[in-house]
């Protein structure tokens, strides 16, 4: 599976990464090489194999429905790039 520049741009947009047009070619080449490595998987038949999401066959534990968290807003917003009046600020969201 070879990737072209336009696919690289599409994927970069999905991942919200900026890729310069000059870079796109090289990135496409690198990713194509990696996909070639990955495609070795296709060499075997797995039609009857169940996927394995976690190495261990265990199930989800449940948490009691209790409020355990206090308000730490001020402390948490100290590390924010931009916050005002308790809100995180971002460039205007357009709907």
């Amino acid at each position: 599976m070879a990737l072209d520049k336009s696919e690289v741009e599409k994927i970069a947009h999905l991942a919200r990464l900026h890729i310069d047009t000059e870079e796109a070619e090289e990135v496409a080449g690198r990713i194509t090489d990696i996909l070639a490595l990955i495609d070795q998987m296709q060499s075997i038949d797995t039609a009857t194999t169940e996927p394995l999401a976690h190495p261990l066959d265990v199930v989800q534990r449940l948490r009691a429905d209790e409020v355990t968290e206090a308000n730490h807003r001020d402390e948490l917003q100290e590390i924010a790039p931009s916050a005002q009046e308790g809100l995180y600020l971002v460039p205007r969201v357009i709907e």
Binding site: V59, L87, Y88
Partner: protein
């Protein structure tokens, strides 16, 4: 051309747990921004989710209530997209293995017939935060208090054929979740939100038309308006020879129109995959049975029982079971006074009228079921007439003392002393010789005049039956 409308609803219901789906933050409505967002809710590095047991139970509870298949093994997935109100950059949801599978519920159409609406699935997921667009020098403010609130997304089959049916379905859903006590269903506060998938096709056509998804519908009234508006728009487009574009539209209640959401137009590719920070949720029969045992009687079953047990009309029973609280109130009234029919009238007419007029919830009714029962009991035992009872009912709003003491203190007790009534009747007959003559000449309509006069003289307190009997006798 005749068009047929096809509607499917996606309803998001906020579950009324104490804490979030995957963290111990509170989900209380109305808190100061970001005071209910902990390090997990803010997606700080290395933080991890653990599933809230109560949210899972509530989802199962809903599934059982609509006779759905329960996912004995459900799996959470990540739905990936970037938005400032989505801190992790993915929403944890359920794609292939939801907690609630296929089920159904029935709605009543205008002509009184029942229609079954299929529920495709109901899956658990996290709510997002809120973007506030008030101007912060051209910026938006992000409040993540709501991020991570447990949601149940209930997806219907495209079985609805009109805006009215959609509203009936939504109301039924609302009633069920309130009966189950899994959400307050408050649409104004966003605890129940509705997206409508709408398409139209020529009547008789079996292929579905291209659909649009209208988001942001936050009241029953708007559901109807938004769908009607969208149906109208689609008809105009098609009749002008145009094509419907599959897109997401936003309902603007201020302008009563839907408009295309351009920001979501870029084909979204959500890249779902199983959430590796969570394990499969496996439940067993005993888990499900324990929940089944706590299920309340649901509106449909209650309605049937009311008809059988209390001999109510199907209509009256239907009105009384619209909410669990109303039905419970009604039953408490009956238990107190013993007359099911009279109780039904008082609850559905007088009480409901009062609540509607003041926009009160039944839980906030100033008149408790027991007091209303006492009032009705006094009608039954002839202490007061039904008419006087309305006066007492009014008085009860101001006066918290017992029904009996209100009747006593206001002197509203019915006159049942036949001697006293006889005196009144004699006086009326003596004072109106002309009418007596007319009556005796066969003009029976005049009888009402005598009743009115006598009642007036008693200030409405005379026992009507006794009064009638005496008048008839004396006028012979």
């Amino acid at each position: 051309m005749q068009w047929e409308t096809v509607i499917g609803l996606e309803v998001h219901v906020q579950l009324s747990t104490q804490s979030k789906l995957f963290s111990g933050s509170s989900i209380q409505f109305g808190a100061e921004p970001n005071t209910q967002a902990n390090i997990f809710d803010l997606a700080l590095p290395g933080t991890l989710p653990v599933l809230n047991e109560e949210a899972l139970k509530m989802a199962v509870r809903f599934g059982l209530a609509i006779g759905a298949e329960i996912g004995m093994r459900s799996v959470f997935d990540r739905k990936n997209y970037f938005y400032p109100d989505l801190p992790k950059g993915y929403q944890v949801s359920q794609l292939d293995f939801p907690t609630v599978g296929k089920g159904s519920l029935s709605i009543e159409l205008e002509d009184g017939t029942e229609k079954t609406i299929g529920v495709t699935r109901a899956h658990m997921e996290e709510d997002a935060g809120k973007s506030l667009h008030e101007d912060f020098q051209g910026a938006s403010g992000i409040d993540l208090n709501r991020a991570g609130t447990p949601l149940l997304e209930i997806v219907s089959e495209p079985d609805l054929r009109s805006a009215e049916e959609a509203v009936a379905y939504l109301k039924k859903l609302h009633s069920i979740i309130r009966y189950l006590d899994i959400s307050d269903g408050n649409m104004a506060q966003g605890s129940m939100r509705c997206d409508a998938n709408v398409s139209i096709r020529p009547a008789g056509e079996s292929e579905l038309g291209t659909r649009t998804e209208t988001k942001n519908i936050n009241s029953f009234k708007f559901v109807e308006k938004a769908i009607n508006h969208e149906v109208q728009r689609q008809q105009e487009v098609l009749e002008d020879g145009g094509r419907i574009v599959q897109e997401t539209r936003l309902y603007d209640s201020d302008r009563d129109e839907t408009r295309s959401m351009r920001s979501k137009e870029v084909a979204n590719d959500y890249r779902y995959f199983p959430e590796p920070d969570l394990l499969p949720v496996v439940i067993d029969e005993s888990f499900v049975n324990a929940i089944r045992e706590t299920l309340p009687e649901l509106p449909d079953a209650k309605r049937v029982r009311f008809v059988e047990e209390y001999k109510l009309s199907d209509y009256d029973a239907g009105v009384l079971v619209t909410s669990r609280e109303l039905a419970e109130y009604y039953e408490a009234v009956v238990a107190r006074c013993g007359d099911a029919k009279l109780s039904a009238n008082w609850v559905s007419v007088e009480l409901q009228g009062l609540l509607n007029k003041n926009d009160w919830e039944i839980s906030a009714s100033p008149i408790q079921a027991e007091r209303l029962g006492d009032l009705i009991a006094r009608i039954i035992d002839n202490t007061i007439s039904g008419k006087i009872a309305k006066t007492v009912f009014e008085a009860m709003l101001e006066d918290a003392s017992s029904v009996d003491s209100i009747i006593e203190s206001k002197g509203l007790k019915q006159v049942t002393d036949s001697g006293a009534i006889e005196k009144l009747v004699d006086e009326v007959i003596a004072n109106n010789p002309e009418q007596v003559e007319q009556y005796r000449a066969g003009k029976e309509k005049v009888f009402g005049f005598f009743v009115g006069q006598a009642m007036k003289a008693s200030k409405g307190k005379a026992n009507p039956a006794q009064l009638n009997d005496l008048l008839k006798e004396k006028l012979k």
